[in-house]
Subunit: 135 residues, 4 copies
Amino acid sequence: MDKFSYDVRVRYAETDRMGVSYYANYLVWFEVARTEYFRALGVNYTEFEKRGIFLPVLSVQCSYFAPTTYDDLLTITTCVNSLKRTSLSFQYRVTRKADGVVVVEGSTVHAFTDSSFKPIRIPDEVLNVVKVALL
Amino acid sequence: MDKFSYDVRVRYAETDRMGVSYYANYLVWFEVARTEYFRALGVNYTEFEKRGIFLPVLSVQCSYFAPTTYDDLLTITTCVNSLKRTSLSFQYRVTRKADGVVVVEGSTVHAFTDSSFKPIRIPDEVLNVVKVALL
Amino acid sequence: MDKFSYDVRVRYAETDRMGVSYYANYLVWFEVARTEYFRALGVNYTEFEKRGIFLPVLSVQCSYFAPTTYDDLLTITTCVNSLKRTSLSFQYRVTRKADGVVVVEGSTVHAFTDSSFKPIRIPDEVLNVVKVALL
Amino acid sequence: MDKFSYDVRVRYAETDRMGVSYYANYLVWFEVARTEYFRALGVNYTEFEKRGIFLPVLSVQCSYFAPTTYDDLLTITTCVNSLKRTSLSFQYRVTRKADGVVVVEGSTVHAFTDSSFKPIRIPDEVLNVVKVALL
């Protein structure tokens, strides 16, 4: 598996009074896509945390091309586009399912760390299953 | 001190596409008022957590009388209206500062617990400073 | 259809530093369940809004029996337990899917209103399909 | 005025189970800083919206250098670092007030639009008061 897609439906809580999805919520949906990406690879992120391994975000970039709103079904497509000794990057493309329009694109960079946020080597079970790709 | 008031300004993120503050956000503002209530009493909630003492919510009730929206300045007035061996209750009244209209009233019940959510006796420094009152 | 169930998975964003789901998020999940309840009945809430019909919350009550956390799969079971001329009430029961434990119960009361929040009669297509029940 | 600073205190709701502020919340604090920046310039963003003028986000970039947590007092320093015919950019620096550590830096690009998200020229009252600067 290189690319992975997951659908989320926009909640009323996630809209703002401009009538559209509030911009910070796309970062939440990115997080949902990362969780489900790892699950699809057979890697459960909660297991990492039980072993004291965390994956905090170092940076995020996000471009907004078109608005979405309440009840829209969105497809979040993601892949790992860079894998280093202690960090990795995800790309994201958000598509409005009803019409196929790409509404948002983004990326995040993460470090693997211990519980005190000290970088550690990427765990083998991640290295073994993640396939680097580009959206 | 029996009653305590704290102002919050409605953020864009906290509105929804009905044009008003989303209903769950009042519970966040209740939490802000509780934090500042304890601070005003000289009790810092972060100190409790360092000692393994938590104050999870057992129940919440909230009534909505009028909408608020982006940039509204709201006054959250709160007091402890019940104090028991292992639990206490807060009341809240939310007033729109511009016109004095009461927009929301609510209450929460909390237990003092250890980090595994087992009830414990209310710490003395809370008992010593909290004064039971009614809004 | 009287009772309706819908699953949500707890997002990382929805947890707090106590390690559990933040209490206000259950109100968001109640909203998700209402949306899906209406959809299951063949009524699309976005269609109401296009006609200038809204369903703001008048009050909410919520009791928390056990914590949930990141990646937990939760089942929100809901039903309409009261139907009046201009208002209706929902009940909710939240169950942790892994072990069947009831973690939260709650209820909301809503008014049907126009876009200026003036109460209106419940639309016929709602009256025709909603069946009053108790959880 | 070129640079502007505004303080926010991290709410419990804004932390996650890693024990730190959830990454998307910095975008909410950026929004708070923009609102207060305009207010300090004598420009009330709600007035724009009454005239059908909106300022949606086209892109955001954010780098995370150190974590923050519940009850931390954060200073958001912002300035407009680019001003074009229909768009403008903000820079942000987030400092932990207790120790002066820069925890986050970011930027957003915005377009002035009408209510259907069609770009419009920047309103004169903005052009007249905004001073381009760099953090």
